[in-house]
C-alpha cells in the first residue's frame, strides 16, 4: 500500500527544473494542460509531448520512476483508444465482425491517449520536482490577490501542506487498525458485501477519531511554534522569479499557445485534421 503512494512523490534534486520558481512550474503546467484541453491538433499535442519529455530530461529524474505510475493508467488508455477507434464515424480502415475501425477513429484514439499522457505527466513532474512547502508557497503567492476578497489563501496553503504530510501517517494508521480488527476476528474477507462494508466502518471510526486527536495535538504544536494563521511572509517573499523563469514560461507559452493562435487565426491546410473535431 505504501509503495503505491510513492507516485508523484517529491524527489529532492538540484536540477534546472527543481530550481525554477514554483509559480513558473504551476503556471507552465496550467498553460500546457489548457492548451491540450482546448484543442487537440497534432502540432499542439506533439509539441507539448515533446516539451514534457524535455522537462523530464532536464529534471534529471529517471524516466522509469516517472512512468511507473502509468502502469495503472494503461488500462484507461487502451480502453479509451479502443472506444475512440470503434465509435468514430469516418473512412473505414478495416472491419472486425460488426465493428468498423476508422482512420479518424485511430487518429482520435491516439490523440486522446496523448492528451491523457500529457495530463498525467505534467502533474506528476510538477509534484516530483517541487517540494510541498515550495508548492504551498507558490500557490499562496499566486492566489494572493484573492486575499482582498477575504479568501483565506494562507490557511488554504497550510491545509494543503498538512494533508500532504499526514497522508502516509494515516495510511499507516489505517493498516494498524485493520490488523487490530482482524486479530479480533473482524470478517474482512466475508463473501457478503454488506458484512464487509460494516467491517470497514470498524476501521473508519477509530481512524476518524484518531485524526481528530491528531488535529488537536498538531494545532497546539503549531501554535507553540508561533503559527498564527497569518501570511507566510518569508515563505512567499523568498520566492524569486528570475530570468530563468521568464525563459521557461516563454518557451512553454510558445510551444502551447502559438500553435493554437496559428491554427485559429489562419485557417490552415490542416483543415482535414480539423475535421476530426
Amino acid at each position: 500500500m505504501l509503495r503505491r503512494m510513492k507516485l508523484g512523490k517529491y524527489v529532492p534534486g538540484n536540477s534546472l527544473i527543481h530550481r525554477l520558481d514554483p509559480r513558473t512550474k504551476l503556471l507552465g503546467g496550467l498553460i500546457v494542460v489548457t492548451a491540450i484541453l482546448v484543442n487537440y491538433n497534432w502540432p499542439v499535442l506533439l509539441l507539448n509531448t515533446g516539451l514534457i519529455f524535455m522537462v523530464i530530461f532536464l529534471s534529471e529524474i529517471n524516466l522509469p520512476s516517472v512512468l511507473r505510475g502509468i502502469k495503472w493508467l494503461w488500462i484507461i488508455f487502451i480502453f479509451s483508444f479502443l472506444a475512440q477507434c470503434v465509435y468514430t464515424q469516418g473512412n473505414p480502415l478495416f472491419s472486425l465482425g460488426p465493428l468498423t475501425v476508422t482512420i479518424e477513429g485511430v487518429y482520435r484514439g491516439l490523440a486522446t491517449f496523448l492528451r491523457l499522457l500529457i495530463l498525467f505527466l505534467s502533474s506528476t513532474i510538477l509534484t516530483m520536482t517541487t517540494s510541498p512547502m515550495k508548492m504551498a508557497g507558490g500557490l499562496e503567492a499566486l492566489f494572493a490577490p484573492l486575499t482582498r476578497l477575504r479568501v483565506p489563501v494562507n490557511q488554504f496553503a497550510m491545509l494543503v501542506t498538512i494533508s500532504l504530510r499526514f497522508i502516509p501517517t494515516l495510511i499507516e494508521e489505517a493498516e494498524t487498525v485493520t490488523k487490530a480488527q482482524k486479530s479480533r476476528g473482524a470478517p474482512f474477507a466475508s463473501p457478503k458485501k454488506l458484512v464487509r462494508l460494516k467491517t470497514l466502518l470498524a476501521v473508519l471510526i477509530p481512524l476518524v477519531a484518531g485524526s481528530l486527536q491528531r488535529a488537536t495535538d498538531l494545532a497546539v504544536a503549531m501554535e507553540s511554534r508561533c503559527y498564527t494563521g497569518g501570511p507566510h511572509h518569508s515563505r512567499t517573499k523568498n520566492l524569486r522569479f528570475g530570468r530563468r523563469d521568464l525563459a521557461a514560461l516563454a518557451i512553454t507559452a510558445a510551444v502551447s499557445i502559438l500553435p493554437l493562435l496559428y491554427i485559429y487565426c489562419a485557417a490552415l491546410p490542416v483543415q482535414s485534421l480539423q475535421n476530426l473535431r
Binding site: Y10, M133, T161, L218, A221, S224, C226, T228, K237
Partner: protein, 244 residues
C-alpha cells in the same frame, strides 16, 4: 530541571501555561518579565520558551524534515539566509543532516522526536519545555534523547524543563519539582526527592537509587546524594579508596 507528578497532577497544564498556550484564570505567568496575557508579548514568549510534545507524529507539520525545522523561524518572519543558517545549525546539533530531505513518516520514533527538538531549537529559545518526550519511545531511544538534552544544556546553555512521570528520566536533573493535584509539594535536588519518594510522594525512585538505599541498609557507607549511575560509580570508588 525536572517536573514530576502523577496523572492529573497538572504537569501538562503547567507546561502550557509557560508559553501562553493556556492563560491563567487567576494570577499571572511571567516569562522573563513578560506577562503571557499580553497579546503583543506572546510571540516573543513562544520563541523563548519552545516546546516538544509527547507524540512525535502529531507535532510535525511539514512533509520534509528541512522545512519542518524552518517552520518556526518562518513564523518569526526571518529572512531566508537566516532561516537557512538556523536549519543547518539545528540539524547539526541533533545529528540528522543526512536525513534532511526525508519525510517524517520514514523516520523512527526517536528520530522524529529529535526532529521535533531541532525544530524547537531553530527558534533559538532560552528554554526548552519537553512534555513527556520519551513516553512513546523504547528504552534505547529514550536514553539517546536524554543524552542529547543533557548535552544541549551543557553546551548551548539552554534551560531544559523535562516533564515526566518516569523517575529514571529525571535522575540527571539539577532540580526536581513534584506536583500533586495542581500544587507544588516538593522542590529539591533529585537525591532528596528520590530518598523520600517511596514513603511520602508515592513515586517510584530510579533503580540506581533503590540499589543505593539497599546497600546503605546493608551497612555500606554510600553517599546519600546518588541519583545516577555516574554518581554511584564515583561514590563507590571513593569508598574503595578510603578503605584501602
Amino acid at each position: 530541571m525536572g517536573i514530576a507528578g502523577k496523572n492529573g497532577s497538572g504537569k501538562t497544564t503547567l507546561a502550557r501555561l509557560l508559553n501562553g498556550l493556556l492563560l491563567p484564570s487567576a494570577g499571572s505567568v511571567m516569562v522573563n518579565g513578560m506577562d503571557t496575557r499580553q497579546r503583543r508579548h506572546i510571540r516573543e514568549i513562544r520563541r523563548q520558551v519552545a516546546m516538544v510534545f509527547q507524540n512525535p507524529d502529531n507535532q510535525l507539520v511539514s512533509p520534509v524534515i528541512e522545512e519542518e525545522i524552518a517552520f518556526g523561524p518562518e513564523n518569526l518572519n526571518l529572512p531566508l539566509r537566516e532561516i537557512e543558517i538556523r536549519v543547518e545549525e539545528a540539524l547539526q546539533i541533533v545529528g540528522l543532516e543526512e536525513l534532511r530531505h526525508k519525510s517524517p513518516h520514514m523516520l523512527s520514533g526517536g528520530q522524529k522526536q529529535r526532529v521535533a527538538i531541532a525544530a524547537a531549537l531553530a527558534m533559538r529559545p532560552a528554554c526548552l519545555v519537553l512534555d513527556e518526550p520519551t513516553s512513546m519511545l523504547d528504552q534505547t531511544c529514550r536514553q539517546g534523547i536524554l543524552d542529547y538534552l543533557r548535552e544541549l544544556n551543557n553546551r548551548q546553555g539552554i534551560t531544559i524543563i523535562l516533564i515526566s512521570h518516569n523517575m529514571e528520566d529525571l535522575a540527571g536533573a539539577g532540580r526536581i519539582i513534584v506536583l500533586q493535584e495542581g500544587s507544588i509539594v516538593r522542590d529539591a535536588p533529585p537525591w532528596e526527592i528520590f530518598n523520600q519518594a517511596g514513603q511520602t510522594l508515592d513515586l517510584k525512585p530510579p533503580n540506581i537509587v533503590r540499589l543505593a538505599q539497599m546497600l546503605r541498609k546493608r551497612g555500606c557507607l554510600l553517599d546519600e546524594r546518588i541519583s545516577t549511575l555516574e554518581q554511584m560509580e564515583n561514590s563507590i570508588c571513593r569508598l574503595l579508596k578510603s578503605t584501602t
